[in-house]
């Protein structure tokens, strides 16, 4: 790997003095890569993502993006949340235009950008609707457009499709890949779905629990588009399922 886009150096996190939420983690994520953080709840995958986003400070170690230490959130790292986190008082279009508006771009350009990204996610017709008038999948499309409209180089996604029904979820995965192949951001994608991780990721970081740590890094060598029923896919799925099961068993509760 050449120069890392995101470097995680000896990062750990404890919320209380004696409990370690996330053990020491060292990782390098290449530019334009698609990395999935996979593991059961409580493995600290969201904490790790929040540290890259700048929402949470590591107790030890540091996170570097483009060689610069992360301090607080930044427009260069777009975030997509499981709960969408759309501004309910802004229309779909105005949600997407939020970043450009914050950057004080001229009004016409804000609108042009918002329309372009809303079209990219297939919602050109729904710009005037409020989030309360959109389905879950549509809301997440708006949220993705909003993150992209700011032109970030990193896209951080925290179980973005976790709240969607299975059908919508698969559609959204395909959409995300299409968008990513057109405009290769460095993506970090948190999920607890093994098949989602294999379908999307270049690399899968399988996380261990208690304390959260990197259990194994798996390079997914499969070519896109990936077929969920292909033998390679299924074999990889079985292998990862075993890894994850060991971690779930450590938790003692299922």
């Amino acid at each position: 790997m050449t120069v890392a886009k995101i470097r995680i150096e000896g990062v750990s996190k404890s919320y209380t003095a004696d409990i370690l939420a996330l053990g020491r983690i060292d990782l390098e994520l290449g530019a334009n890569s698609f990395t999935c953080l996979l593991g059961p709840s409580g493995c600290g995958k969201s904490t790790l993502l929040n540290m890259i986003a700048g929402f949470v400070e590591p107790t030890h170690g540091r996170v570097l993006v483009d060689g610069i230490e992360v301090v607080g959130a930044s427009a260069d790292r777009g975030v997509v949340f499981q709960e969408y986190a759309l501004f309910p008082w802004r229309t779909a279009l105005d949600n997407v235009a939020f970043g450009p508006m914050i950057r004080r771009l001229p009004r016409a350009e804000q609108r042009e950008r918002a329309e372009r990204y809303l079209t990219l996610v297939g919602l050109a017709e729904h710009g005037t609707k409020f989030p309360s008038e959109l389905s879950g999948g549509m809301k997440q499309r708006v949220a993705i457009a909003r993150a992209l409209a700011n032109g970030p180089s990193v896209l951080l996604m925290d179980e973005p499709f976790g709240a969607l029904d299975a059908q919508t979820r698969e559609t959204m995965q395909e959409e995300l890949l299409r968008i990513w192949q057109e405009d290769r951001k460095t993506v970090v994608f948190v999920t607890h779905s093994i098949s989602e991780a294999i379908f999307l990721g270049d690399r899968i970081i399988v996380m261990a629990t208690r304390p959260g740590a990197v259990k194994q890094v798996i390079e997914v060598g499969l070519a896109h588009p990936r077929e969920r029923s292909a033998p390679d896919f299924v074999a990889l799925e079985r292998q990862i399922k075993q890894l994850v099961r060991e971690e779930v068993e450590k938790l003692g509760i299922v």
């Binding site: 949340f81 501004f87 079209t119 959109l134 389905s135 919508t168």
Partner: protein, 285 residues
């Protein structure tokens, strides 16, 4: 770049919240209007019937004590003609508006400041919580002592009474903004100031509007009492003055006018609320 159709069925989360039984049937707007108007018609009919029945058939009490609605209307027309009614209405309204504006300004401003600072909250909130349960009326005699029997005591009294709901709801609104929305804004490059302006304020707006509506209602509630005690004009004065002369129709007229004004203002405020908060699925339309 290609656009794709989403192929998803839109389900509205509001549907589940509708009253049971009416989930399938569309609301018939005309029927609703008729029923709501009927409510008022029936009220007046009952009043009229009770008054007439007592005066001509039952004679349970002195008919003077409950004049029929048309007597009240006649009294109103007479007063309107002499210009007296308008004078009282304007006197009360001007006090309510002044007192309410002071309360709104102070409530929203202090509520916002306190909601933004943990230290300020610890310093201010306990005192407010101590004063809040005391009925404002308990302070009315004091207000008269402090500010005299002029306008200041009444405006001050209204401002005091209306301040609490506005302050409390504003504080809650500012304090409990979804932290996820703040994170989302920060990850889109928003500064602290941007977050306040574009996230905290709009997120708190429904609360603030509710507080203002309650505060305005309360202003009307307390003005009458204030005008009982120390006033030579206003609808409260009208009622109390009519009592000394045993003009029951005028007493009821005073009450009816307050009712009509409150009713009208509530409609206006709800319209305004629905417009400002049209993004809310459950906003009343």
């Amino acid at each position: 770049m290609s656009a794709v159709s989403t192929g998803e069925v839109k389900t509205s989360p509001g549907d589940a919240r509708k009253r049971r039984g009416s989930a399938e049937r569309p609301v018939n707007r005309v029927a609703v209007m008729v029923r709501r108007a009927g409510s008022i018609v029936i009220f007046f009919a009952l009043w009229y019937a009770a008054s007439l029945a007592n005066a001509h058939l039952l004679r349970l009490f002195n008919p003077v004590l409950l004049p029929p609605p048309d007597d009240v209307l006649k009294a109103g027309i007479a007063m309107a003609k002499s210009g007296e009614l308008a004078r009282h209405i304007l006197a009360s309204l001007s006090r309510v508006v002044q007192g309410f504006l002071i309360a709104a300004l102070a409530g929203v401003l202090i509520g916002t400041l306190v909601g933004r600072s943990r230290v300020l909250e610890d310093l201010v909130e306990p005192t407010v919580e101590l004063l809040r349960p005391i009925p404002p009326l308990a302070f009315l005699p004091m207000m008269v002592l402090w500010f005299g029997i002029g306008e200041a005591s009444k405006v001050g009294f209204i401002a005091y009474a209306a301040f609490f709901p506005i302050f409390t709801t504003t504080l809650e609104g500012i304090k409990y903004v979804d932290p996820l929305l703040i994170r989302a804004a920060a990850s889109l490059g928003a500064s602290e100031r941007d977050i306040f302006r574009y996230v905290v304020v709009p997120a708190a707006l429904p609360n603030i509007i509710t507080g203002l509506r309650i505060g305005f209602g309360l202003s009307f509630f307390v003005i009458v009492a204030a005008e009982f005690i120390a006033a030579d004009s206003g609808l409260g004065f009208l009622i109390n003055d009519a009592r000394t002369f045993f003009l029951v129709s005028n007493m009821l007229l005073g009450a009816a006018v307050i009712g009509a004004i409150g009713f009208a203002f509530n409609i206006v405020l709800r319209r305004l609320e629905a417009r400002l908060l049209r993004w809310r699925k459950d906003a009343r339309r």
